[in-house]
Symmetry: C2
Subunit: 394 residues, 2 copies
């Protein structure tokens, strides 16, 4: 007997998906992504209170930075208050100036574009790839050859007259972009590569950690990420001058002096508090275990969804090892009309799922920003559904 015989086609798919998630997540209400605190979190937080060091001074900030360097292979790391702050500072120390253009995917969280705006620069949106959900390198090369010219060694947008200064790929849901191809493009057009690895701690591209390929990279440690500091972010770089400059700007550009207050630039108050870094230290200790559980969850979902023909579950790209931050269903093209029904059915059933972000080039706030054709972005946005991905599910 077909249990779906009384349902309309969309409802059938929705019910099948609700049921499939239920087999993994159980009958209770389930979040999209919850952190787990099963290590030294309490001990380190308590130590902050006992020592009185909860703010910008304290051992955990440096310890957290060192641990991240060790884990990722990055030479330097600078902890800040959010992934957005990391992007903002990263673009500034990367050399982005007002009225320059920065290539970013349209399919990303708005922080990537906001950070470009904070610098007085202009986001220039480009299309993404079906294979890795990040910037489509092949399309980007073709596009840049068409819309830009090289003048005195710099890439200039022929239509706006503005320099195209950088490209900021985002590793969507933790899946690495095609960094080899993007590095080549970065060289060919003399544009800076800055990696928005906000969602990708633990993800490798060709066995090297993402965020360490560009001039610099950034992480987010927001509460919904693979590991969290409450709110937080980090800049990664192998360039000591970039690291020093980022740290300087994150601490109000205050010059070292035993007691005088001297500042040599417009700086920011972006330094991560010790309290939040303490949480990060404990979380990072658990990351290998978290990553292995996230891969396991992917396998379980793959199994469970294998006989639902309307969707596929998104798998890490070739040459990559993804952290599988958010597990992702991709609706097949002919079933996109059911996306909203699936999402609302899940939410009504107490299962927190979500679509991808509204493509940024479609937001009125960025309507004057340049944008490439968006064929794949437009398709993917109708097809992506993120499903509950907490480690606690298994």
């Amino acid at each position: 007997m077909n249990i779906y015989h009384n349902l309309k086609p969309g409802e059938t798919i929705s019910q099948k998906i609700v049921n499939a998630i239920r087999t993994v997540a159980g009958e209770a209400k389930v979040a999209l992504h919850e952190p787990i605190f099963k290590g030294n979190e309490w001990s380190y937080l308590k130590d902050c209170l006992d020592s009185g060091y909860v703010s910008s001074i304290g051992q955990y900030v440096e310890q957290f930075e060192n641990q991240v360097c060790e884990f990722t292979g990055s030479k330097y790391a600078v902890a800040v208050v959010s992934g957005t702050a990391a992007l903002h500072l990263g673009l500034l120390v990367g050399g982005i100036k007002p009225n320059e253009e920065v290539l970013i995917p349209s399919l990303t969280f708005i922080a990537t574009a906001n950070a470009v705006s904070y610098c007085g620069a202009v986001p220039h949106f480009v299309d993404v790839s079906e294979v890795n959900l990040g910037i489509d390198a092949k399309k980007l090369r073709t596009y840049l050859r068409k819309i830009s010219i090289m003048e005195d060694g710099y890439c200039i947008n022929k239509f706006t007259g503005r320099p195209i200064k950088a490209v900021v790929p985002m590793h969507v849901f933790g899946h690495p972009c095609d960094l080899s191809a993007l590095l080549e493009i970065s060289k060919e057009f003399n544009i800076i590569l800055i990696e928005d690895a906000a969602e990708a701690i633990g993800s490798l591209y060709e066995n090297k950690h993402v965020g360490t390929y560009g001039k610099l990279g950034i992480f987010s440690f927001n509460g919904n990420k693979t590991i969290t500091t409450g709110g937080g972010g980090m800049i990664l770089t192998d360039d000591i001058l970039i690291a020093q400059k980022a740290k300087h700007l994150s601490t109000t550009a205050k010059k070292a002096h035993p007691f005088k207050y001297l500042h040599d630039e417009i700086g920011f108050n972006y330094r991560m508090p010790n309290l939040n870094a303490a949480l990060g230290c404990a979380q990072l200790e658990q990351l290998p275990n978290i990553l292995s559980k996230k891969r396991e969850l992917f396998k379980i979902y793959s199994e469970v969804f294998s006989d639902i023909s309307e969707i596929e579950i998104f798998k890490e790209p070739l040459c990559s090892r993804s952290n599988y931050w958010l597990q992702t269903l991709l609706l097949k093209e002919k079933f996109t009309e059911y996306q909203e029904d699936i999402i609302t059915s899940c939410i009504e059933a107490g299962i927190n799922v979500r679509p991808a972000w509204t493509p940024l080039h479609q937001l009125s706030v960025f309507e004057t920003s340049p944008a490439s054709p968006m064929l794949t972005t437009s398709s993917l946005v109708k097809r992506i559904i993120n499903i509950p991905s907490s480690v606690g599910l298994i």
Copy 2:
């Protein structure tokens, strides 16, 4: 016998001050300002871990905002990641636009001026008062009458042609400015009053909490403040539209929707994490006790310093009740040459003291900003020495 008979005059003063502080602070190394965690800090932080809510979602953020409203009498409060973020958002929602001028004291922490710069606006530095260390209202009125004209109801700087849009008094070391006079000036010149109460939680002007007089006010909860959230800040306002706008901008300007990502402005990621708010809730519970101890410390220091004729200890202005965040020595004019020796002697003796900030109009980064004559600022900066002020000292 005079124990100072072998010392040069400067050393004599320094030794007397070191000895006086030692009678209060003891012989061990002593910080300028340390927080105390003797309330529910442990319990609330542990609750964050137990519940899993450490980030932007969680009960403590709203609870902290409500507690601050209750304590200050403000109708609305919006918690953010730092005092700097509160100033930045406050200026934006207050209506500051690029190329407008904002009157701020030169004698303030650089965050006040940086926040103006983040808005693309220009800090316009003015002199302060001996009586309260904040903007000298009488001088400001005279100055504005001289340098500005009213055009179509707006105050325009005659020399730069730019609108003078707002005045941002800072309540230095917790001592309230002359808010009545500043409110009058605000009306006379049609400029917005925004209070930088970063250092002044617990301070009253005419029995009403500072930060609640202007269109909006801000607090800082940095680790060195009277109470701390690790890093944090807050916007206070009685205007619901301002509060809503601040909250909206602090949360990436994301519109409410069950699952869609729609943002209608360039927003920020400034929301205070639940973990930090939890600390704030516990700290705020202790604030009345902290404030009473800070007054007690002032009395003890007053006694101890009463027979050192070269200095006076700064007392709250008339009509005000100060939180006495940082206890402040004022060197008399003819002893200013000994300021640096006193500071280095204290630091060498393990007593953490500090001078005031370098007046901002003297920093090269603000050298193109307009500035009034700075007679009192120039005098005070040579005379101020903040001495250890932790509640733990008594």
